[in-house]
Every structure is written in C-alpha cells, then in structure tokens.
C-alpha cells in the first residue's frame, strides 16, 4: 500500500519536472544570452575581451566571405581522417575481439594512441608530411581508440545464445562474425562513430595549429590571434563548435534511425586485452612484445616513408639526441626545466577538475535537480573542441598561469562529470533504497552507498582525464603562457630543432602512458580488494 502511493507520487513528480525542465532550460538559456549581451555591450569583462553575442554575429556576417574556404578545409581533413581512422579502428576492433592474443599484443599501441596528446605530434606531422596529411592523421588518431574499443565491446558482448545457434549448424569464426557479431555490435559501433565525429574535427583543428596550410578553422584562429579582434575569435570558435556538434548530431540521428537507441556519451578508456591467461612466461613475453610494438611501428613507419634522417628521428635517434650527442646536457636541462613547469600544472589541473566533477556528481545524488539542469551543458561541452577555444580563454584570462589551470580544469571536468554522474545514476537506485528504507540521511546515503559505488567510475574518469589534462596544459603553454613542454615544442619548431621536437613528442606520450598505467594499477588493486569490476 505504502509503496504503491510512493510510486504514484514519484511518477507524478517526474512527469511534472520533465515539463518544467524543458521550460527552465529555455529560460536559463535566455537569461544567459541576455546577461552575456549586457556584459559584452558594456565591456564589463576583461576590458571587452568578451564581446556581446550580437557583436559576434555582426562580425561573423562581415567575415562571411572567409568562412567557406576555412570550413571546407577543416571538413576535408576531418572527414578523410574520420573515414580512414574508423575504417582501421573497426578492422582492428574485429581482430582484437576475435583474437585475445592480438588484443594483448596490441595493448601497448592502443594505450599509446589513446594517451598521446595530439598537439605533441602535430609539429612532427607537419614536418614529415605536406598538405592535408597531418590533419588527416590527427583526425584519424582522434577517432581510432573510441571506435576500436566500441567495436571490441560490441562484439564481445554479443548474446552467447545467438552464437550457439550458428555454431550448432557448424558455423565457423567467419560465419559468427558475418551473421551475428558484427550486426550485434552495430549499435556500439555507431555510438563510437558518434563520439568520434567531433574528435575528428578537433584533430584536424589541432593539426592546423601546428602549421601547414593556409585554410582551415584552426589556421584561421591562429592567424587572427594577433589581431586583437575578440568578436572574430569568438565567431571562429563558435563555428568550430557548431561543426563538431553537427557531426555529432548527424551520427546520433543515424544511430537513432538504425538502432532506435541512443547511448550515453561516455567514452571508453580501457584498451582490450588486459585479462591474462596462460603461463607467466608467455604473459611476460606478450607484455614485452606489446611494449615494443609501438616503437617498432614508429621505426617501420619512418623507414617506409623514407623521411631523411635529419628530420625523422628513430627511437635510436631520440636516445642519441638526449643522451649521447654533444648537446645532450643542454637538451636535458631544457627538457627538465620544461617538465618542471608542465607536470605540476597537469597534476593540479587534473586533480581540481576531477574533484569538482566528483563533488558535483555526488551532490547530484542528493539533489537530482542539479544534474538535470547541468547535464545538457556538460553533454554539449563533451562534444565541443574545448581546447580549440583556448585563444578565447586567453582573451578572458590573460597569459598568466591561471589560464593553464582553467583550460586544464575545463577539459577534464566535463568528461569526468559525465562519466561519474551517469555511473552513479546507474548503480545506486536499488542500493540507495535499502539505506533509505532505514531512514538514512542524505549524508549517510553518500557515505554508505554513493561514494563506494562511485569508485569504478572515478577511476574511469581518471583514465579519461590523464591525456586530456596533458593536452590542455600543453596547448595553453603553446598558445598562451610560453612556458613548459608546450612552449618548448613551439620554440623547437621555430628553430627547426628536430631532435627536441621528437624528444618532446616522445616524452609527453611516455608521461601520459605512465600516468595512465599508474591509474590502472591503483584501480586494479583498489577495486579487486572490494570485489568490484572496472567501469569501461
């Protein structure tokens, strides 16, 4: 009886709030726009660094002749990279899903691709290739991991009973893939493509930051940076955002059409192939091979491309530059100094971003209203090329260290919040009801249920945040503060110091992978002790 009335009441309130939510979201957006307009019109923020929306629109209109060429160039790079990256990702995903050994061998490569800050290799790409290639490569790299892991998850979660039917008629590996697994993985693959689409746009823009090519929104942004024209910068930033959102929206539509299901915007951050089976000897052999593979691929790529050794450094070349060459000590000093600036910022920014996300996600358990009004913003921000908006933040915040922190916090906060809030929303319903039935206060609920239950998602958020934080810091250093690894990279680019360009790229990837591995080790240890499974 009591439960029945409670249920009826809660159904009633959700219906009311959903109507209310639409209305309040519109109202909030309107208030925001008006406030923005007022702030802009009266130059209340940072001496006019925040132009009013109408000013941005007017500027956009007078620049309208410039945009088509830039948008087209970015679109070309992004879409070609999208095709290539996702094509490879789906093939690789199928391979990893079918062969556990391949998955374990490919792990090193997958982690490296996941963790690599695109900005770090963009100068290398610009130096080694010409034309659109750097954009295509970075866009493809941006897509690869998301779609690859979506494919693996989709295939390995195929209903076993459907596989049994095909096997019962003697169907082999190929028949299983063709008739069941690929089709069953389709929703997951489409969800991967949806998340990959804005990533491709971001990849192309980041490559444009690195130079090479006159056209593209990234090139336009960099070119306009010196002109102290906030309205134009905002226009470009909004155009880039719109492009990413449209790319996302198109795939969301296709997905909804084809599978009638849209999934959450959480991005997978675990490479396949962690589980180890077989003897410890073969485990060690495979692990070593998986660590060696990225270096082998790096070396092979350079050999195949035939880039001159002066420009293209092999692993041995980088080692030589950093430890054996006459200039090695000077290189080491500069590198260590840069690391001394970049690492603390990365850690502080990441910790702050995660902490905010964690607190807000927990608060949303106590007061679901918070998450409801905030989630749409967080979801939109997830697909925005946030780091591409750095110039705007520079305008707002100046070129001090604070801009690094804000950028890092903003690129880690949103994905972490989305992961945590969605994770908490999934696990806690039943468990919360149990403690509520005993009259637990909101804080007791947090202590007994929400915080322990959120651990796997906190780790998932951390894995996601590591590479993003480093990317954010390096971009801010490159474009704004002129410090740290980002600046070292930019300077070396100017001096054509190839050894240093390669060194910074390699070191930043290694750091990112190292942090990522540390998170994984702690995660496995902590979760195993509590009998929990990692969240994807």
């Amino acid at each position: 009886m009591a439960t029945e009335t409670a249920l009826g009441a809660s159904v009633g309130t959700t219906r009311e709030t959903s109507g209310f939510r639409h209305w309040s979201a519109l109202r909030n957006a309107a208030i925001l726009l008006v406030a923005w307009e007022v702030l802009g019109r009266f130059k209340l923020v940072a001496g006019g660094a925040l132009p009013a929306p109408t000013e941005v629109l007017i500027r956009f209109w007078s620049d309208r002749g410039d945009y088509p060429a830039h948008i087209l160039a970015t679109f070309q790079g992004a879409s070609l990279g999208f095709l290539i990256g996702n094509g490879l990702a789906i093939l690789a995903g199928i391979l990893f899903a079918v062969s556990p050994v391949a998955a374990r061998l490919g792990r090193g490569l997958n982690v490296a691709i996941f963790a690599l800050p695109p900005i770090a290799i963009s100068p290398i790409l610009v130096l080694t290739f010409s034309g659109m290639t750097p954009r295509v490569v970075l866009a493809a790299l941006g897509c690869y991991f998301v779609t690859m892991s979506a494919t693996v998850t989709g295939i390995s979660q195929t209903d076993r009973r459907m596989l049994d039917v095909v096997r019962a008629y003697g169907g082999g590996r190929l028949a299983l893939l063709r008739l069941v697994e690929i089709r069953a993985a389709l929703p997951a693959i489409l969800a991967g493509l949806r998340v990959a689409a804005p990533a491709a746009v971001l990849g192309s823009i980041l490559a444009e930051f690195g130079g090479g090519g006159r056209f593209g929104l990234g090139a336009y942004l960099i070119g306009s940076l010196g002109r102290a024209d906030p309205a134009r910068l905002w226009g470009i930033g909004l155009a880039a955002t719109a492009m990413a959102l449209i790319a996302y929206g198109i795939f969301a539509l296709i997905e909804a059409r084809l599978t009638r299901s849209t999934r959450a915007v959480t991005v997978a951050a675990t490479p396949p192939g962690i589980r180890s089976e077989g003897s410890w000897l073969s485990t060690i052999a495979i692990t070593l091979a998986s660590i060696t593979l990225p270096f082998l691929v790096w070396w092979l790529l350079l050999k195949v491309l035939g880039t001159p050794a002066m420009i293209a450094k092999t692993p041995a070349g980088v080692f030589d530059y950093l430890f054996l060459a006459p200039s090695a000590t000077s290189a080491q000093t500069r590198l260590l100094a840069a690391l001394g600036q970049t690492l603390p910022m990365t850690l502080i920014g990441m910790a702050a971003g995660l902490a905010f996300a964690f607190l807000l996600a927990l608060a949303s358990v106590v007061r679901p209203g918070i998450v409801r009004s905030f989630m749409p913003v967080a979801l939109v921000t997830q697909t925005m090329p946030l780091v591409a908006l750095t110039p705007l933040l520079v305008l707002l915040l100046g070129r001090g260290p604070s801009v690094i922190l804000w950028i890092t916090i903003s690129v880690t906060f949103f994905p972490a919040f989305v992961t945590l809030a969605q994770g908490l929303g999934m696990v806690s319903r039943g468990a919360l009801d149990v403690v509520r039935a005993y009259g637990a206060s909101p804080f007791t609920q947090l202590r007994l249920v929400s915080i322990p239950a959120s651990l796997p998602y906190l780790f998932a958020a951390m894995r996601l945040a590591v590479p993003r934080a480093l990317l954010g810091v390096m971009i801010a250093e490159w474009l704004a503060t002129g410090t740290g690894l980002g600046n070292l990279l930019n300077q070396s680019r100017g001096y054509l110091d190839y050894g240093m360009i390669w060194t910074v790229a390699v070191v930043s990837v290694l750091i990112s992978v190292l942090f990522y591995q540390i998170v994984i080790v702690i995660e496995r240890h902590v979760l195993r002790k509590r009998g929990m499974q990692p969240a994807v």
């Binding site: 009973r161 049994d164 039917v165 095909v166 096997r167 019962a168 003697g170 089709r183």
Partner: protein, 256 residues
C-alpha cells in the same frame, strides 16, 4: 539410411571449474538413441540436460567419453547439416524478421534460400505465425518467439533433432497442439529426436523412452519405456495406462 542416424553417448563426463569448486554437470553418462527413435530427457533443474545437448551439438567438449551423431563427431554432423536444434530460450536474432530467423541455418550451411521458400512458408503456417513473416522478434510474444525457434529447427529437414524445452513458454492448450504437431512431423520425418522437457505428460505422450536424470552429479537414474501405440491421439492423456506411465516417471524423478 535410418540405421546411421542415431545418437550415442559413451561414458561421457563434463565438469566445470567453478571458483574453488568443481561442478560435475555430467558423470559417466551412457545413452544410446537408435536411429528414428524419440527420446525424452527429464530431470530436476541443473541436472545437466542442457549440458548434454550442448555436447551432442558440438558446442562444448566433454571432459571424457565419446559422443557420436550419425556415426560422426558432433561438429562434423553439424557441418553436414544433419542436425537441427531449438534452444531453451528462443535465441532469435532481433534484427532478423521471422522469415529470416527461420532461414538462418540455411545461411550458415550455405544453402540457397530460394530453394526453401516453400518450406519456410509451410513451417510458418505450421507454427501458426501466418501474417507475421516480416515481424521482428521484438514485436512477438514469448510463445510466438519459441514457435519461430521450432520452425527454425525444422527448416533443414534434420535427421537428428535436439529440442531443449521448446514449449516452455506456451500455454497448456497450445502446448498440447504443438505436441500433436511434433508427433506428426516426427512420424513423417523419422528424425532421431532428443527432447528435453519438464512436463511428465509431454514426455510420456511423445517419447518411445523417457530418460530420467538425477542431479549432483548429473547422471541417468532410470529409463522408462513407453509402449503406447502410434499415432497417439489426444484421448490417450486420460487413459489408465498413460497415468501409470506418468506415475513411473514421477517415482523415478523422486529417486525410487
């Protein structure tokens, strides 16, 4: 030809490594189903019935012992298209229409769908799904889905037919109807049939022999022969002989 399509299990064992424990799902099971016979398998939940079926289908490997389907290894028999199967849960593919789901074995075996379109239509009619040819499994009820699975099991004209509780989700009336249909199909095709069921009446009505299993470890307790004449009509359910046989099976289930 009929002499070569039997099912033989010789001292078959299958154990599963659990967390710290070992579950003996099948312990030294020997069973011989002659070609063209109808055998019902009955026993408490978890006694290894589905495991036995999976072994006979080549979906799983026995820890020890030998299994022969029509004189071949299970996987060979499957590849040769001799077997048909309907699983405990329908296991339909949600993206395939009723027709396409029924045609799935043809796709796996690489047979031409066009040659079977009449057969598929006939099967759809048989399981009472006319008008639902293009429907997706998501649009069907649980019982309708199970009927699709039965039609799928029959599409290849199997010589050896495995049915794992195919009528579990059907109501009593439909179940009786399907029992009669299954008897008719079996008498026409004379496929060697192994039916797993929880219904004593169903087992006695359909089978030549009812194999009663016991659990922990999974083993064969008793085999009850059913000497009732064929074709068996619905009236047979109410005869004293039928009840006596049912009692025998029920006693064997209790462990007597």
């Amino acid at each position: 030809m009929t002499s070569t399509t039997g099912i033989t299990l010789e001292t078959v064992s299958r154990s599963f490594q659990g967390r710290g424990t070992v579950v003996q799902a099948l312990d030294n099971v020997s069973l011989n189903c002659p070609a063209g016979s109808f055998t019902a398998l009955i026993g408490p939940s978890g006694c290894g019935k589905s495991t036995m079926l999976r072994l006979a289908l080549g979906l799983d490997d026995a820890t020890s012992g030998d299994i022969g389907i029509a004189g071949m290894k299970p996987q060979q028999a499957a590849k040769a298209g001799l077997t048909g199967v309907a699983f405990q849960d329908a296991a339909l593919m949600p993206w395939r229409s009723v027709e396409d789901n029924i045609a799935l074995p043809l796709d796996v075996l690489g047979r031409k769908r066009a040659d079977f379109s009449a057969k598929i239509a006939e099967l759809i009619e048989l399981v009472g799904l006319k008008g639902f040819e293009k429907a997706l499994p998501g649009e069907l009820s649980g019982g309708m889905r199970q009927r699709v699975a039965i039609a799928r099991a029959l599409v290849t004209d199997p010589k050896v037919l495995f049915l794992d509780e195919p009528f579990g989700a059907l109501d009593q009336i439909l179940r009786r109807q399907m029992n009669l249909e299954l008897q008719r199909i079996w008498m026409e095709s004379r496929a060697t049939t192994l039916l797993v069921t929880h219904g004593i009446d169903e087992a006695v009505f359909l089978a030549d022999r009812v194999v009663v299993m016991q659990s922990r470890p999974g083993r064969i307790g008793k085999i009850v022969d059913i000497p009732l004449a064929r074709p068996r009509l619905p009236e047979v359910f109410t005869t004293p002989e039928f009840h006596a046989l049912e009692d025998q099976v029920a006693e064997a289930l209790d462990g007597h």
